[in-house]
Amino acid sequence: MTEVLDTGTALGRPIRRKEDAKLLHGRTNWTDNIQLPGTLHMAILRSPVAHGRITKLDVSGALSRPNVVAAYGAKELGDLNGSIPCVWPVTDDIFMPGFPALAVDKVRHVGDCVAVVLATDAKHAVDALEAIEVEYDTLPAVVDMEAAIAAGSPLVHDDGSNTCYVYNLGGGYEEAAAQADVVVKRRFINQRLIPAFMEPRAVVAAPMGMSDEITLWSATQIPHVLRVLLALVTGIPENNLRVVAPDVGGGFGGKLQCYREEILVTQLARKLGRPVKWTETRSEDMVATHHGRDQIQDIEIAAKSDGTFLGLKVTLLANMGAYLQIITPGVPLLGMFMYPGIYKMDKYSFTCTGVFTNTTPTDAYRGAGRPEATYAIERIVDELAAELGMDPMELRRKNWIAHEEFPYTTVAGLTYDTGNYEAATARALELFGYDELRAEQAQRRASGDPVQLGIGISTFTEMCGLAPSRTLGALKYVAGGWEHCTVRLLPTGKVEVVTGTSPHGQGHETAWSQIASSILGVPVEDIEVIHSDTGRAPYGMDTYGSRSLAVGGQAIKLASERLVEKARIIAAHQLECSADDLEFVEGTFRVKGDAEKAQPLGAVAFAAFTAHNLPDGVEPTLQAEATVDPEDFSYPHGTHLAAMEVDTETGKVRLRTYVAVDDVGVQVNPMIVEGQVHGGLAQGIAQALYEGAFYDEDGNPQNASLADYLIPSAADLPSFVTDRTVTPSTTHPLGTKGVGEAGAIASTPAIINGIVDALRPLGITDINMPAAPMTVWRAIQAAKAGGAA
């Protein structure tokens, strides 16, 4: 076992996490643990039908049930029934329907909120739901996206269209196609997924203290953004709202939201003047927490006969679900920039149509648009290689941006700062044993082995570090992408790092301490990272889009450096020298050339606290802050390889070896980086092999519980082979890029490419996800029968 590293200048070391002691002893503070005196528990009556008019709703029966204090439908809630906000109206003419917290007149998906009951305990609240009288006039459900936008489709929203928006980027693909020797076109289905973080959502709101303050505790990724949105939606003055995200058990984008339940709990706590609490069941979660992905991707690539890419055309149908949540329309746009991937080409035409259906709303899920884009480009490149009879890695090599060509502006308009696809690929091929596996594949094909071997490749990049605020503004996103940090040196020499990021498993407390420690020279264990509470950490833009280190890390670095500069002035005064004569080494100011004259940072802090002897014009206390707007996105990349065994007699697929070589730039804590890669791999592999949220034609969810929705267990996955190359980002002062989503983005196409590669001799050119044995077996049978795969 490797040694424990717990102290010292810390950047780049695999320090064990500060977070773990409490998590491993059950001394956690999940939102559902909060039990305030006088709490009312909220239970929600949800729609069992996908589409229907509410012809009767009478909540009075619930009021006569024991321990029930209040019950509301939309009518009883009146003006408190706020509309859920969407902050990314992607086009000028986007159709943005209303989204009331409690459904008004119509329900639009199974799980839509119809009424609530509040009782003194959760059991009585749930029991009383059955006393609510509700009747629906069921309407035809809109489920299939192509049917939804066809003429004559029933409308999800009576006052508009099922087309939410149409977004175009680029153009000129037809010119490229006209010059091409070969054009390959495919339709890929990027199926709907459920984030399924392990901690179900929970919300507590309470009027607190002597003021008019309402405190909201929520299992959220975005306490700061949520505070602003709740103020706008509820009319509660923002300065009276405090939002706290206590320990949060995973998010993956699913807790990047302003949920209707958060609005209801806040409004009812204020109205009733007592704490209100709601914790979802897992079965509620599966229909009421937003879903991810769900796109139909038509993609076409034009190339010369030598393999040179000329152009790419992408036409998307993106399922919005029944309503627009916080950034629902924008998720496909985050992918829009990434379809060209790591490749050079001259033309790119992109069109996305956002479509309303009677399904749970979609929104960000780990990768948010980029996994979909990466899947499509990496799949079509393999298809083109097959068409050209080229090795798929050779085709990639021929078209990717060479390391000496950076910075490189892509056909989609992004400027990638750095990258070294050659290095990552060389390392991955070496770890994988590519040539040996190709030889084994040839041997199995020749011998007619019922178990065929396929090699799946994914050479990907992604955009991290959301985001330069001006870019977000240009895309009509209504917020900025900056991040804040305040660093305080307390009189006793301890340090507070106040961050605007909001971790839920990523280990920010450890990694942020490492950054501050490396600059301040203060041991990691003397640094406390304060986060996720708008009362204690007032400024921030929270955690999503692999932004926390890429953007928040810059703020920690800058604030720490500013603190050192203020301390230097005080130290120079105390040591009776010029600030320029001081060097700052391992947490101590020393007069250059006079080792005896020195003052540690802690002593400066105490001097700043007593303020007995500060230089003129220097204010007491030692703290500094920084708010950083990133110069640009960052672009981690990597090469992932999967060896897939496919039993052609049963359709069973086995992931034999998975190699991931990622380049995430400078690593603050390689142990945490590796853990992020592992988790991302599992989710991306799960999309390829196990997961998918499906509806029948009436809009009924087919697998909305953990008994039916297949989250892989330890027995369903192998150990992974991972390594990193390090090409520092030049647009981020720490050289870091971001790693939270990389594994989920890269792995899905690697797996499917591997399965298709194994089966290509049968004439199979695609396998729908998830590649369950039945799906694969049917594709094999169809191919053998001479039909299309």
Binding site: M1, T2, V4, R16, R17, E19, D20, A21, L23, L24, H25, G26, R27, T28, W30, D32, N33, Q35, K123, A196, F197, M198, E199, P200, D247, V248, G249, G250, F252, T281, R282, S283, H504, G505, Q506, G507, M671, I672, E674, G675, H678, G679, G680, L681, A682, Q683, S705, L706, A707, I711, S713, A714, A715, L717, S719, F720, G743
Partner: protein, 157 residues
């Protein structure tokens, strides 16, 4: 119904509704909130505790069924100053991220290693099949269990 259950070294006597699940009694009845609920179909294993020394999903046991039994939760596994080897191993091997599955994962591991002190990787993976984790991809959990076996004198094969 009246029950008497020893939990983490303290005997609790309480009146519970017959329908009360053990996990709900642990959390809401006696404040053992270290044990958590992750699903409602007995799939996730987050609520795993030891009941008379064997791991159970405390969502699939009624509180009344635990009458007269001894329950150990994550909060009773060690004092906090002295760590159980499984806890040490999970920290050393970065076997947790958000930590929500961790109480169940740790308690299942304790039971797994008591049954099989030297599990192979395949046995570890099969042994933890009833505990879902969404963060780690299980890679480091498997390493944690193998390292815990080593710490406890068994070692993994």
């Amino acid at each position: 119904m009246r029950i008497s259950v020893s939990v983490d070294g303290t005997v609790y006597e309480d009146d519970v509704e017959p329908r009360t699940l053990l996990v709900h009694w642990l959390r809401q009845g006696i404040g053992k909130v270290g044990t958590v609920v992750g699903c409602d179909t007995s799939n996730c294993g987050a609520c795993t505790v030891l009941l008379d020394g064997r791991s159970v999903k405390s969502c699939s046991v009624l509180a009344v069924q635990a009458d007269g039994s001894t329950v150990t939760t994550i909060q009773g596994l060690s004092t906090g100053e002295e760590w159980h080897p499984v806890q040490t191993a999970f920290k050393e091997c970065h076997g947790l991220q958000c930590g929500y599955c961790t109480p169940g994962m740790v308690m299942s591991t304790v039971d797994l290693l008591s049954e099989n002190p030297s599990p192979s990787e395949a046995e570890i993976r099969e042994g933890l099949e009833g505990n879902l984790c969404r963060c780690t991809g299980y890679h480091n959990i498997v390493k944690s269990v193998a390292y815990a076996a080593e710490l406890m004198g068994g070692g993994s094969r």
